[in-house]
Subunit: 412 residues, 2 copies
């Protein structure tokens, strides 16, 4: 009986079934009870915007999708299939670039974008809450003498941190990308669930993860906007963001709004701040194992560039380095072990002895540069791990997968 | 010399000085580097929006302010003087209600509004970071058997929690208002700095503060939207939000956008969830002092109503109750100690013996209802504390001040 009803329904509907409205599932990042935007099983997304008096409304998600106005004053559009993963997006309403009021907002490109998550096929839940012991992500304020300002970072402590009162832990310093901030890894990245699940499965060692904000300038130091490539110390160390391609292009971009939306950073100031203020605060406040073999650093995109800039120049302080879609290489140019990345790879034997893991991750949609860089390093005798995330772009699903692969390799 | 230059400048400028553009200071809640919106010393705010092709743009902050379009396609408006404190606000661009991309966003009225802070006169810094020991606000996930869902709360632990490894602490359960969520108290409310400063000054005892989300329904339970007054168990217990007046009217309101934007709550389900899931999780996870004399509950607006509903019916579990611009009374009707608030005040002697602090706070701009309720309670012999915040409305500056007055009274 049930089956015959289903057959009847399928016959009477025909091809329309694939576009039935009830198949479109609300985006998991919507505000409570909002049904739109929604995502079809083939990864198309439908957006709806109330703008009764507007002349032109579009969604910008990687590219623009013009919306059409219905008789009820509601604008709608269904996109072409989108790449799986987390995407920032924005609306354009008669020339104003704004967030969609139907979703929670996420700090990227220097402002609070909307977000949509295109689910991975299958029951992928390594970055979801499971019934395992949970660690904590805590807000940590501290005063920086280098920047002469209060700063904020977030700190993940593993599930047993509160109960295992005498245990000390190794530390991973984990950075966001251009235009993002210290909220990115625990909000878009789900660092806590990834680590809780890895630790529960005994795939990763319990560790503390410190997520700071890349933006740091000294008082009076001119705010170096992204264009300030002169600050990058090593040859070949071109900024890793903003990228030319990938769905991260969905960001509205700096200068698109009425505010400044620029990011103020200086790679060497961040390094100074990290050693003078951040690391001492962490080691004073948390129960931390000492020494370079208990200290790792990683970051995504511009945070990967920062990691390699800070780490390769301070190998007495770090034994593990990770670049997720960003490092000091991988963006073209000729590899020369004597000069690339400031000559950090000139002595492979010494390098390999010091650096326990050098990790290079990338989404397969991002292009071949990182693979070529990894191959050149291998050719030059530098041990490194290359990780490629299948079918993902320059965005957070790539970086969740990078962390999921990278974290188990640490502190062994 | 300096003086004569000043006189000359004042003469040549005349009245224009009071409106000089450089006097308008960027809103502290703007995204990094955004200069607008800005606030004049007389509490007028100037807004700027890029919307070159729009026909009509307005700011809604308590009331609407139509913007005017300049030749550069930028819309501007300067408001009349605003009440001091934190205000949600939104833009209307050709009929679309959206957040201003120039500010960080804040969850209120069920979506991510923009925010602006009109500074208090003087060097008020009790809710700012000072150079004192800092506690932590941590994200805490837990599974609720009552709602059959994962939930999130934030937990403040005092500065010495990490180092004083054997100490146990009393707990304050602190709730947000209608349309807000568990992020409100640590984001809009600055609960961490308020408590850090009070504890450093030895004005409040070190305590744990748990900030949960009011929205809770059982599986299959129909989502009770705000209109569902039938859920309020006690006579006179009208919902405390949304208010008719005050700057909180700045919120765009439920239904203004394309999404649902409704809030799903049920006062008795929250109470069940709190006793079955939340409190046991807290007492299992944190070092908590047992018993009613170490447990307080407070909330703002609808959170105050929840506090009185939960607390007055469970005095064996709480010795301290606080309603900040919200309780089971204060919104008119005749006070009758036998029936008001479900008859909780019928036996003053017994009540006073059990309840160590019954706190009623309100902003002076909100109206006289809470004062009348407090007076009626006093008349009936019920000990209570009435706190009035001068010059503030139904919004977060009132509630920061309420917490600052309430917290020192706890656990004595």
């Amino acid at each position: 009986m049930t089956r015959s009803v289903f057959v009847l329904a399928a016959l009477s509907c025909g091809l329309c079934f694939g576009q039935a409205a009830d198949e479109c599932k609300p985006n998991v990042l919507n505000v409570p009870e909002a049904k739109y935007p929604c995502v079809y099983s083939d990864n198309r997304a439908m957006f709806r915007v109330i703008a009764p008096d507007a002349q032109k409304v579009a969604v910008r998600i990687g590219r623009g999708f013009d919306m059409a106005k219905g008789p009820d004053g509601i604008w709608t559009v269904t996109t072409t299939p989108l790449v799986v993963g987390f995407h920032y997006y924005s609306l354009q309403v008669d020339g104003a670039t704004v967030a969609d009021p139907s979703t929670m907002t996420f700090f990227g490109s220097g402002w609070q974008n909307s977000g949509i998550e295109i689910p991975e096929p299958g029951d992928v839940d390594y970055y979801r809450a499971r019934d395992v012991p949970h660690g904590h992500v805590a807000q940590q304020h501290y005063y920086s003498r280098i920047t002469a300002k209060w700063r904020r970072c977030f700190v993940y402590t593993p599930p047993d941190y509160g109960t295992n009162a005498k245990a000390k832990y190794p530390v991973l310093y984990l950075l966001h990308g251009w235009g993002e901030d210290e909220t990115g890894w625990y909000t878009q990245g789900h660092v806590d669930f990834i680590m809780d699940n890895l630790i529960a499965a005994r795939k990763a060692k319990p560790m503390i993860i410190v997520m700071d904000n890349l933006n740091a300038v000294k008082p009076g130091e001119s705010a170096a906007l992204f264009a300030g490539r002169g600050l990058v110390p090593a040859p070949g160390a071109a900024p890793a963001a903003p990228p030319a391609g990938g769905t991260r292009g969905a960001q509205a971009g700096r200068g698109a709004g009425p505010g400044g939306r620029g990011m103020t950073f200086n790679l060497s100031t961040f390094t100074d701040m990290m050693f003078a203020d951040l690391i001492p605060m962490v080691e004073r406040t948390y129960r931390v194992l000492p020494g370079r073999e208990n200290r790792a650093m990683a970051g995504l995109s511009m945070g990967g560039m920062q990691t390699f800039t800070t780490g390769l120049n301070n190998l007495d302080r770090f034994a593990y380095l990770g670049g997720f879609s960003g490092s000091c290489g991988g963006r073209g140019g000729t590899f020369d072990s004597k000069t690339t990345c400031g000559g950090a790879f000139a002595d492979p034997a010494a390098f390999n002895k010091k650096v326990k893991v050098l990790f290079l991750g990338i989404g397969s949609v991002e292009g071949p540069g990182t693979k070529a860089f990894s191959d050149a390093l291998t050719q030059a005798g530098i041990h490194n791990v290359y990780f490629e995330s299948p079918g993902t772009a320059h965005e957070w699903l790539t970086w969740r997968r990078c962390l999921y692969d990278f974290a188990p390799r640490l502190f062994r």
